[in-house]
């Protein structure tokens, strides 16, 4: 779509492609621009000055800058799910069909009723939230906050899931360069020619930095030609990578840098299978920061009127985009560089209304230019601006000497000098140092391996930029061990950037320092009067520099004003701490592909695909996805399925995939001694071919993990951990082995993923196993007794490990086969088990059976319980040292009134027991004083035909048979329960031994 004529576009010139017209909409209005425009330049070309309303006072605002330092021109870009708030119009590339809307106005940008806030300006001063909304306290959530959120603020988030994809990538190089201005390109040439691996990141879509607007002559040719040559040469160098639309936003330890590449933000939406943005982590031996400088405003009354613009931005729009922010321009400057805007404007045929120069003297050359251009040069300062949402009309000037003057103009270019972009160099708490000659902070120190050059280093002249950039690029390559010939540096002259500092012009009316957060010069003065003099206090009290632009145009002016009112120098006043990111980065880019189902890795059990075929319901436990139960046709809910599974196991045979248990092979002559030190019980005396339950403590005496360990050979143990602790236990054991007990000759190998392990349980377990295991293997009670463990051959010859251990309390084995046979094994178990009615069971039935047997699990091994709390105190050996032994004896850990594991069942057998319910003595009022513990695990027991549970209850084991009160304020339930033995089913354990 292509809209109407562009009223403020020059007939010729600029770096736009007039053969590629683009249509776009702003607040619903159809407009036109060209390829090569930003949204800001296209708005200017269409004569639009008013682009937004301010944060607090809803003042009309225009475009202030032409870069990522922009505080005002924030828009909601795109629509629907892709709507992105607070997007800078100055960096958003124009594309055909772009839709943007202004923010923070109602009902419309031109008629914003919230502008009434300006009338209440006296109460909106610094700290007004703290002062105004103090009382009544309960009003804060109900009244004040919602009202403030409605009235103040920026754009609206899309409110729905982001449809785009984001990528994350790593890159490595010798020399990383931030910025493609003259300094950056010179650095890339020097480093590249030296043979270094170079990555150059440029925020803009076009390369050249300020050369794109200001031109100049380099090596005797126009800047544009030099850029083309430089890019051409860089393209021929094999290890030089040039990335546009990519900005370095952070510096991390060890030469790691964060960069965001806006891969497809210049298109309406990313092409299919492409990402919107890519987050780069770049590891570089050296980094050359050629990030340039930011022109700073001068603070005066009405300086936020649309049409007031940075002088460099004004000439950027004219020269680079052939767009005219104003027809009759006034310039307010305190320095030589500001005059370049006059030259650019005159060259483009624009009218200059006047130059207001705050310096005592203006050069003869400038006076001659004024005479030729027919405009006045006023020695003084701008003291006020007359105008409004339609822009600047008249400018009030306080002349040096006291007289006043007025200038009629529709645009005011302002130049207060340049601030080097010190962000990247300061992110490691580096404090920039003040340089009086340029009245600006420059990098003092930088993170290791980083150096700032050119304007970012306070060297503004073109010749200096080239010189510094080239030298730094060559040095960085050398430091990285590249010794090629860098050749000759590019040469240019230095321009005059001399200035007389001027920060603030006194006058009537609001004078803004931080445009985006509506912080005025008087707010800073107020903060000083109220004692918030430190820059960090000033920042937080006034919110100066805390908006999305992070004070790029406001921080230095703000602390300069603070310096004046507090009677200190600017370096004494100091800067706040700089923190990344340099520009806002979409959270989606940090997440990358790690969202939704890919938020974390999913580990599938060896029987997963088979279970899915059976229609199993799955549950995510940690990273694992496990079958929770296997519903059958006609079953009305999970409970019915789980009850059937439990009954099938206890009455016949069933199996469950327990491959998720952590598995560790322990090898070596000292394997037994090692296990003795990490478990509370002894393993060195375990017979080969036997398994034993083990309990591990933390060094502070609290239970860490449990599991069975089998001795498969003299020097070979096979240890299992809980599913949840598989990783941490491996790490802990490696610590014990490598650090604590390094003298032991033992090796650990994690084999969790190498073995598919199934629990086969129920009275018909042997019948089923005999169909699977080689008939030569003796599975009888004598040949393979309870807690036996050994390698067996399966029918067909595959070796398996067989463990006669039981978590369910039934006659049971666990069988493990190499993981690749897991699927085959489960299918064979189903086939061979058909005559016995074999039933697969999931984690729910597994849990039911362990509760019926009183086995502790995660809810009881909760990081607060001791071995004795779990009823396993007798396992603690007194004959050896082990991790946690000494601390476990501490007074509070052996106190008689500790909460210990006990069985719990409702007195009313039809009642459902709920975990989390608190245990209160029968005659006491529920409350913290009478709280004696809580229910940790519950299930419906098919064998007892009622809900049962385990709990941690004060002196629980001494109180078997006592009726207590279960108090569940979360669910509003109160009922009586009986404390009982935790072993509900088969208390003498005959079934598992049979």
């Amino acid at each position: 779509m292509v809209g109407p004529a562009q009223t403020h576009r020059l007939e010729s010139g600029g770096l736009i492609d007039r053969a590629a017209p683009l249509g776009f909409r702003f607040d619903g209005k159809s407009l036109a621009g060209f390829q090569g425009d930003t949204l800001a330049s296209a708005l200017i070309a269409n004569g639009i000055k008013l682009v937004g309303r301010s944060f607090k006072y809803h003042r009309p605002r225009g475009i202030l800058t032409a870069g990522s330092e922009e505080p005002n021109a924030l828009v909601e870009l795109r629509t629907g799910a892709r709507r992105e708030p607070n997007t800078k119009a100055t960096t958003a590339e124009l594309y055909d069909g772009l839709e943007a809307a202004s923010q923070n106005r109602w009902p419309s940008l031109r008629h914003d009723l919230m502008a009434v806030n300006q009338l209440f300006a006296p109460i909106f001063v610094a700290g007004f939230y703290y002062k105004t909304f103090m009382w009544p306290a309960k009003f804060w959530e109900a009244v004040y906050e919602p009202a403030i959120r409605r009235a103040a603020g920026l754009g609206r988030a899309a409110g729905v899931a982001d449809p785009d994809h984001y990528d994350k990538a790593w890159a490595h190089c010798d020399v990383l360069i931030a910025g493609s201005g003259p300094a950056g390109l010179a650095a890339a040439l020097a480093a590249g020619r030296s043979g270094a691996r170079v990555i150059l990141c440029e925020e803009d879509f076009a390369f050249g930095g300020r050369l794109l607007a200001d031109g100049g002559t380099i090596d005797g040719v126009p800047a544009a030609e030099w850029i083309t040559r430089a890019l051409g040469e860089l393209a021929t160098l094999p290890d030089v990578r040039i990335m546009n639309r990519t900005i370095l936003f952070g510096v991390y330890d060890g030469g790691t840098y964060g960069a965001i590449e806006r891969v497809n933000d210049h298109l309406p939406s990313p092409p299919e299978h492409q990402v919107r943005q890519r987050l780069w982590r770049i590891v570089a031996r050296r980094c050359v920061v050629a990030a340039g400088a930011i022109e700073r405003p001068i603070v005066f009354a009405g300086n936020d009127t649309p049409g007031v613009m940075m002088a460099s931005a004004m000439r950027t729009y004219v020269a680079r985009y052939a767009a005219t922010p104003a027809k009759r321009i006034a310039l307010f400057t305190n320095n030589e560089d500001g005059w370049r805007t006059v030259e650019t404007a005159l060259a483009a045929g624009l009218q200059i209304a006047a130059v207001i120069d705050a310096r005592p003297d203006v050069s003869a050359a400038h006076r001659a230019l004024a005479a030729k251009g027919g405009f006045a040069v006023l020695n003084g300062s701008v003291s006020g601006v007359e105008g409004g949402k339609d822009g600047v009309r008249k400018i009030a000037v306080a002349l040096t000497g006291g007289a006043r003057a007025e200038v009629e103009a529709d645009g005011l270019a302002v130049s207060g000098g340049w601030n080097p972009a010190v962000g990247l160099t300061s992110y490691h708490r580096g404090r920039p140092k003040w340089r009086d000659d340029i009245a600006a902070f420059v990098p003092d120190s930088a993170p290791p391996g980083m150096v700032a050059v050119g304007a970012a280093n306070g060297a503004f002249g073109l010749g200096s930029c080239l010189r510094q950039g080239f030298a730094a690029g060559a040095a960085a390559a050398r430091d990285a061990g590249r010794s090629g010939n860098a050749g000759a540096p590019p040469v240019a002259d230095d321009e005059d950037f001399s200035l007389t500092p001027l920060w603030h012009v006194a006058g009537k009316g609001k004078a803004f320092v931080d445009y985006q957060h509506d912080v005025t010069a008087s707010d800073i003065e107020l903060a000083q009067r109220e004692g918030f003099e430190s820059v960090e206090h000033l920042k937080r009290y006034t919110t100066l520099g805390m908006a999305t632009d992070q004070g790029k145009t406001s921080n230095v002016a703000g602390l300069a004003i603070m310096a004046v009112v507090s009677g200190k120098s600017i370096p004494e006043t100091g800067t706040t701490i700089y923190r990344p990111p340099y520009v806002p980065v979409a959270i989606g880019a940090f997440a990358g592909h790690h969202r939704d189902e890919n938020f974390h890795a999913t580990r599938l059990t060896p029987s997963h695909h088979w279970a899915a075929e059976q229609g199993a319901i799955f549950v995510d436990t940690g990273l694992w996805r496990r079958a929770q139960w296997y519903p059958r046709a006609g079953e009305k809910d999970w409970l019915e399925s789980v009850t059937r599974e439990v009954k099938a196991v206890r009455g016949g045979v069933g199996f469950c995939d327990v491959s998720t248990l952590g598995k560790i092979d322990v090898h070596g002559p000292d394997a037994g001694a090692f296990l003795d030190r990490v478990y509370i019980n002894t393993f060195s005396n375990l017979a080969v071919g036997k398994a034993r339950y083990g309990l591990m403590l933390r060094e502070d005496g609290i239970v860490y993990d449990d599991g069975t360990t089998s001795r498969l050979a003299e020097n070979h143990y096979f240890l299992t951990t809980t599913t949840a602790k598989a990783g941490p236990v491996m790490q802990h054991l490696e610590f014990c082995r490598q650090v604590l007990f390094a003298e032991l000759d033992v090796q650990l190998t994690s084999v969790t993923d190498q073995w598919a392990q199934f629990s086969i349980a129920g009275p018909k377990t042997r019948d089923l196993l005999r169909e699977i295991v080689d008939p030569a293997e003796d599975l009888s009670n004598e040949g393979f007794p309870f807690m036996g463990a050994r390698e067996v051959a399966l029918r067909g010859g595959i070796k398996a490990r067989l463990f006669r251990i039981s978590f369910s309390g039934e006659m049971a084995f666990e069988i493990s086969v190499p993981a690749r046979y897991g699927d085959a094994l489960v299918r064979n178990l189903m086939l061979a088990g058909k005559p016995f009615g074999v039933t697969p069971y999931g984690t729910e039935a597994l849990g039911v059976m362990r509760i019926e047997k009183g086995h502790v699990a995660g809810p009881e091994l909760n990081g607060t319980t001791t071995a004795a709390d779990l009823g396993l105190g007798k396992m603690m050996s007194t004959k050896k040292d082990f991790i946690g032994r000494v601390m476990a004896r501490r007074e509070m850990l052996v106190a008689p009134d500790r909460q210990v594991v006990v069985g719990i069942k409702p007195v009313d057998k039809t009642r459902r027991l709920r975990s989390g319910a608190h245990i209160i003595p029968k005659d006491k009022t529920p409350g913290p004083d009478n709280d004696q513990g809580y229910v940790t695990s519950v299930c419906f027991s098919p064998m007892l035909d009622q809900w049962i549970g385990l709990g941690l209850v004060e002196r629980g084991r001494e109180r078997i048979g006592e009726i207590v009160h279960a108090h569940d304020p979360l669910r509003g339930e109160d009922y009586d329960v009986e404390l009982c033995s935790p072993v509900f089913y088969d208390p003498d354990g005959g079934r598992q031994r049979g």
């Binding site: 790593w170 330890d253 060890g254 060094e699 490696e734 610590f735 082995r737 040292d881 000494v886 601390m887």
Partner: protein, 91 residues
Amino acid sequence: MRIVCPFCGERELGEFTYLGDAKPARPAAGATENEVFDYVYLRDNVAGPMSEFWYHGGGCRAWLKIARNTLTHEISSVEPAAGVGARQVGA
């Protein structure tokens, strides 16, 4: 942050897990409760050079002793956590 693992070379922070101060030594069997208490709970809050245990779980699974400046994150040395263990890990 980048850590140069003595076995794997220069790797990214995400492969490593931090444990803490490498200075306290586990008391021998028979130590008093006070000695063990100090070992388990008492730590210096170091501002400056510190010797720390790190675990290269995303690589060779070696426990490393790393000399790091807690103020600057500068790493001045990385070595296997214990002499004998180191030989075993490296072997």
